[in-house]
Point group: C2
Chain length 446, copies 2
């Protein structure tokens, strides 16, 4: 959206134009400033960061990734460091400390006031990726015996310190969650209405130890601004807010997309990630796949006699493996996404495989007709027939493989997104060649 | 998440167990009911839908896709049809009518009360995909000269009819947007505070004609519960709410993911989409790609003499094209995603291509060493060297192609997501073979 922007912050920083930087900062909202800082190396980013006024400094800081936050912190004086950490939201702080090297983490915890340190330690007690790490404990809690008017007064008195007051947790004497009430309900209803009459006891809730991504998808499905989080005894411990849910979903989608291409997810802004880290994230699967692709060499070797006799068969190998890989990748991608958004479940496996095999057969027939044309024109008659038959068979086979593997992965407890397009292509390559040469041998009678 | 559920609604519907259905419906929230209905054929889905009580009927209906809503509507009696349409939120209704066949659209508009019809017609005036189609016009508007206490009274009086009251638009005499105020600010501040003192005049706003996806991503970046929408003269016309933003982002991500695998996006629940529609969505690119892959046949033909002389060279063709395709797909996927979430811009092209070429070279060297091992073991010496050199060159080349194409597409005004993994693989296949055979000829001296 900002493609036509005239002056870029990084140019001002590189020119060390302090007045220009101050002007630029004054004209941009915190999230855009954070976005620009994320693009820079940390030794550059610290320059405009230090020029921010106190309030905006915190806002910008909270928009950054934990990785970038660490780099900024390293460049700050001790007092500025302490102040920043103390003012952060407890959930953001817990995430930063949880991911930081021990040296920064200790320095951060040591500088905190006792109350803030307690809150942070509690959040850090939850496993990585759990809702507990992402929820905010700073909420206004209402007792269910209150009247609406009194409840509104509680919000008025304590609301300024809470991260959100739109969805309010309602609890019983044992701090057990009775349900939630919307701030709008408190405003719209008359002051003497019992809170019990407006509380939504069926409001969804999650355990603090559950995966944060699942909680975020639940919020999306149920259209919630905030989701109450409880401990194992159903006591209220915090709220997951919609902005954290949005971030979780974006991160989860980015991860799935990266995995789908056979790369490990890389956290952090693309522009700020180094060549080595990118290469490392992509290398694992590539290594595994090139070793697996030895299978294709073996299959080709097994049919070397056939190849020697009819060299023309080799001409269609890239077209055939390419097409099979494409059809298989499409099926795999469709099913991985359907699993991620909850449209398909493990028990649908037979139905899904049956459906995809028909889709694959249809596509195979369509593509085979093109292959027949191309083949007849380039090499003629029987080889073209062998190629066309192989395309049909390979497409059907690829669709079955591509659609069942993600479901089998999920059943085995593995993230279905590891069934990447490259993985499916590589497997289809080897088996597809086997199909091709077998059909060719039969058709050509060799 | 619901993999271990015991009774499934579809089983009850197929058994026509009305009591069982009623019980199941009573025990599940609207979004879960909608999810189950979305999995069924419409002639089945109508059965449980008719058994819902009035309130929940509307909630469930609004959770369905426009496609599914149409199918449900067709199965309803006229009075039920009219009532449902009348009670829908204006933005959901506009989307339904905008996508429905003329017959259903006319019937829906005809049944509306004049006020609701006016609102719907206004939303339908915006182009498809524009924010105007997704915003809600049902809001509480505050005049900027009010005091906080009076503003809260306005919310109290009119809030019940609005879709959201958490972010409130503040306007001047000409209905021009002065800014927004948060409901929490009204609650926390004293009644005699002028609204002017708490209004956020820097709150982001968008034009009703802007793309809805961009607006949703802006809300995500700026952590907004609702985003005010204005017309060309800066007059307030509606609010985009976070639940619509979440849906827009999920839909956009699903589309990108489908395109990335070389398929057109298919709207609607996977389980409810037929084989023919799936095949059609995937066929366009496959046809284009198989025609493009004729290039690989041409390249192979051009080197048929070399192949006849050294058949062993053919053995490594699938491994080489596969590896090149994988590296290219990874680069393309990374850049398409970085573009979608705004981490990379068109003007970054040289920087991105330079970075990816280094990533590709590193990966190429790593994979070449494996290829050298495999090659030496299977065919020995010089061919192995030719394969290893080719792997290095092809990986570097693939990373450059894969990373620049999405940026070039964006510059040409095309959705970068069309630069799918299959497209990159196919292009890399043909050029990669050219590189391979040229290197082989040089190394083997033929």
């Amino acid at each position: 959206m900002a493609d036509d922007e005239r002056v870029e912050l990084i140019d001002l920083v590189q020119a060390n134009d302090l007045t220009g930087i101050r002007l630029w900062l004054a004209e941009h909202p915190p999230y855009e400033i954070a976005d620009e800082l994320a693009r820079m190396d940390s030794h550059l980013a610290i320059v405009p960061f230090r020029l921010l006024d106190k309030d905006r400094e915190l806002e910008v800081f909270e928009e950054l990734d934990p990785q970038q936050q660490q780099e900024i912190l390293v460049g700050l004086r001790d007092s500025a460091f302490r102040e920043l950490i103390e003012q952060m939201d407890p959930d953001d702080r817990a995430r930063l400390i949880g991911e930081a090297p021990a040296k920064i983490a200790t320095r951060a915890l040591a500088g905190l006031s006792p109350a803030e340190r307690r809150m942070t330690a509690a959040l850090l007690g939850y496993p990585e990726g759990a809702v507990g790490r992402y929820m905010t404990p700073e909420t206004v809690i209402l007792h269910r015996d209150l009247l609406v008017g009194r409840a509104l007064e509680v919000v008025r008195a304590k609301g300024a310190e809470a991260e959100t007051v739109y969805t309010l947790p309602v609890v019983d004497d044992g701090r057990r969650l009775a349900g939630t009430v919307q701030l709008s309900d408190l405003v719209v209803n008359s002051a003497d209405t019992p809170l019990k009459d407006v509380v939504d006891v069926f409001a969804p809730r999650v355990r603090a130890t559950e995966p944060a991504e699942d909680a975020a998808r639940l919020m999306q499905e149920a259209n919630l601004v905030a989701l109450p989080v409880v401990d194992s005894e159903d006591r209220f411990v915090g709220l997951l807010t919609f902005d954290d849910a949005l971030e979780l979903i974006e991160a989860a989608d980015s991860e799935d997309i990266a995995r789908q291409s056979g790369a490990s997810p890389v956290t952090g802004h693309y522009a700020a990630v180094g060549v080595l880290r990118l290469a490392r994230a992509r290398s694992v699967w590539l290594l595994l796949l090139i070793v697996t692709s030895t299978l294709t060499v073996n299959v080709m070797q097994g049919f070397e006699g056939v190849l020697k006799e009819v060299t023309a068969l080799a001409l269609f190998v890239p077209m055939l493996t390419g097409t099979g890989g494409n059809v298989g990748s499409q099926s795999a991608t469709a099913i991985v996404r359907a699993l991620a958004v909850g449209e398909v479940r493990i028990r649908d496996l037979p139905r899904v495989a049956w459906k995809e095999s028909r889709v694959g057969l249809l596509l195979g027939l369509l593509l085979a007709s093109i292959a027949l044309l191309i083949g007849s024109f380039l090499v003629g008659g029987r080889i073209a027939v062998a190629v066309a038959l192989s395309v049909t068979a390979v497409c059907t086979w690829a669709a079955i493989i591509g659609s069942s593997m993600p479901l089998l992965a999920r059943r085995a407890g593995v993230d279905p997104a590891v069934v990447s397009a490259p993985l499916v292509s590589t497997l289809v390559d080897a088996t597809g060649l086997l199909i091709y040469f077998s059909i060719a041998r039969a058709v050509l009678g060799i």
